[in-house]
């Protein structure tokens, strides 16, 4: 009697295994979270040092228009105005997304609704191939094709926001397209059937039913593309011209957070103001990445409620 009671009360080998398994998988996730948190902490502590240790005011940093951290401005503080780069990053990202969105969604509709065979046989493999091309290649193509084209069309040097936006457009197009395709594919088939049965044309079905129900997913795809464009460094750096000037038009050289960050990181010494202020730029990038993420999450939730 006691034996069997003990046996019943005791954890079986299987449940122990179950515990171990759960612990292992939990440890994996905990490790990943730990690594990410330490990266966040690392960037944040360096980025914040600009304001705490070197006494730069946050407002000067975010709204100043002159970027020259090595020298002292008229008010006796280092010239660390990051506004030109912030503006540059945003304009380039928004432009690229604005051009890429209709193309990507158009292609996705074509691939799922209009001609799935062509889509599957030709477009899909090409798009998947292009997702894996390193950004340096895009930058190189931008430098040897887009920049001369812009120079011949608009004059000037050809380096500038518009060139960067075009390169980014091509870069994020495959990503956004393939994500949009996934979203459209997940719209249940009976939605379409119901709509067609009601006498709607193909376009009406696409426009009023499929696109409507896929909106959150499509938005997520676009925001994801924007996040990628925002964080892209090498390709942009090669074609934007990297002048830390407030962008006044689309064809003169400008700069983005990432281009200034990558260019100067190696030439500054750890722990100095010049270096810390670059980490502050990285911090902005990080906050933006977080923002884009929360945005996609929020869109996803909204979509789920409808």
């Amino acid at each position: 009697m006691e034996d069997s009671q003990k046996k019943l009360a005791e954890h079986s080998g299987k449940s122990r295994l179950e515990k171990i398994g759960k612990t292992i998988s939990f440890l994996c996730i905990a490790f990943i979270v730990f690594v990410v948190l330490s990266i966040l902490y690392f960037v944040a502590s360096k980025g914040i040092a600009t304001f705490t240790k070197d006494g730069v005011s946050l407002i000067d940093f975010l709204t100043g228009k002159i970027w020259n951290p090595g020298s002292i401005g008229e008010n006796g503080k280092p010239l660390t105005g990051a506004l030109p780069m912030i503006a540059g990053s945003f304009i380039v990202t928004l432009l690229a997304a604005a051009v890429a969105t209709p193309f990507a969604i158009g292609a996705a509709i074509f691939m799922t609704e209009i001609s799935p065979t062509v889509g599957k046989k030709i477009l899909q493999p090409v798009i998947e191939l292009l997702v894996g091309i390193p950004s340096v290649v895009y930058g190189f193509i931008g430098l040897s094709v887009v920049v001369p084209f812009m120079r011949n069309t608009f004059g000037g040097s050809g380096f500038g926001i518009i060139s960067a936006a075009i390169v980014l457009f091509v870069m994020i197009l495959p990503t956004v397209t393939s994500m949009s395709v996934d979203t459209l594919k997940s719209v249940p088939r009976y939605y379409r059937e119901a709509s067609l049965a009601l006498g709607a044309t193909r376009w009406q079905t696409i426009y009023k039913v499929v696109l409507r129900s896929a909106t959150p997913g499509l938005l997520t795809a676009v925001v994801f593309g924007m996040a990628r464009a925002f964080g892209e460094a090498l390709a942009v750096q090669m074609v934007i011209g990297n002048a830390a000037l407030m962008p006044t038009n689309l064809i003169t050289p400008a700069s983005t957070l990432t281009s200034i960050l990558t260019m100067n990181m190696g030439n500054t010494v750890m722990g100095t103001l010049e270096n810390n202020v670059l980490w502050s730029l990285a911090l902005i990038l990080l906050v933006m990445a977080l923002f884009f993420n929360i945005l996609t999450r929020w869109i996803g939730k909204k979509g789920a409620m409808n």
Partner: protein, 296 residues
């Protein structure tokens, strides 16, 4: 538990690698040199030769920029820190402990797109271009073509040297396009009409035109005689006096064998052929005769 077996295998493999990592083989030695990307090809080439002549010695050469090189050598994280500029010139570096080894001299020349119609320029006008006072090649007797100024990124050694010797005291370059590498600079200058920038002598080729300044041509000979003033040393810094393999390698680079062959072949000017020398403050003095005899 198929899955677990694979896991065990993987763990075993990874741990062997980690264990292996901890104990380098007897008789093999390596040092790491980090920093200036301009100096990197030279040190790499010298390291390759050194490695083939001395079995089991390895010289790891990495880029990362002069700032990284100086920062890491000051923190004693690497064996050699490569830099295009004097440690004293870089803010945030404690130069007192660092020992300078000037392995080569590099001349820097302004380059322009071939069709601007200008081949010679005065130092004053060159300065005016970079400070934004002259904006069209027509003002210098060239074609009616707006000038596009292209800088290296601020903090790069080439930029520092150019600014130091070209721009008039106290003035600053206009905020303009910047590029990270000399190769990109040359490509952009070659393809964009009316562009002016500057690169080390070794980067000049047929696609761009090197300007002479006040009638002096950018040649090694003029640099040696200090007639061409835009030049700088390539430094290899050690933290304290070098010892062991580091010392051997530096001696090797500074030996006549390397100085007279490799350095010239890569477009640098050997330090021992200079008739002038400079200190960190930019004071240039003539080298005493006896060193010159030594180099003969």
């Amino acid at each position: 538990m198929k899955f677990n077996r694979y896991n065990k295998l993987a763990i075993a493999f990874i741990s062997t690698i980690f264990l292996a990592a901890c104990s380098p083989l007897e008789g093999e030695e390596s040092i790491t040199a980090v920093g200036s990307s301009a100096l990197q090809p030279l040190v790499e080439a010298a390291g390759e030769q050194y490695g083939s002549e001395n079995f089991g010695k390895f010289i790891n050469v990495q880029g990362g920029g002069s700032g990284t090189g100086l920062g890491q050598i000051a923190a004693d994280a690497v064996d050699i820190g490569n830099s295009d500029i004097f440690a004293e010139e870089k803010s945030g570096i404690d130069a007192s402990k660092l020992v300078d080894h000037r392995v080569a001299v590099v001349g820097i020349t302004p380059i322009v797109t071939p069709e601007v119609g200008v081949t010679d320029i005065s130092l004053e006008n060159l300065s005016k271009i970079f400070t934004g006072e002259i904006t069209n090649w027509k003002e210098l007797g060239g074609k009616n073509l707006p000038i596009t100024v292209l800088n290296r990124s601020s903090g790069s050694g080439t930029r520092a040297t150019f600014d130091r010797w070209v721009l008039t005291e106290g003035s600053k370059s206009i905020v303009t396009q910047e590029q990270e590498s000399s190769g990109t600079v040359r490509q952009i200058v070659a393809s964009t009409p009316g562009t002016i920038s500057y690169v080390a002598f070794s980067y000049v080729d047929d696609t761009v035109k090197a300007l002479s300044i006040d009638g002096v041509k950018p040649t090694d000979k003029n640099v040696k005689k200090n007639k061409w003033i835009i030049w700088s040393y390539e430094h290899m810094y050690t933290n304290g006096e070098p010892v062991g393999l580091t010392k051997d390698f530096l001696d090797y680079i500074l030996s006549d064998e390397v100085q007279n062959t490799l350095i010239g072949a890569l477009g640098y000017i050997p330090t021992n052929q200079m008739e002038f020398e400079r200190d960190a403050k930019g004071m240039t003095t003539e080298v005493l005769k006896k060193t010159e005899q030594k180099s003969d």
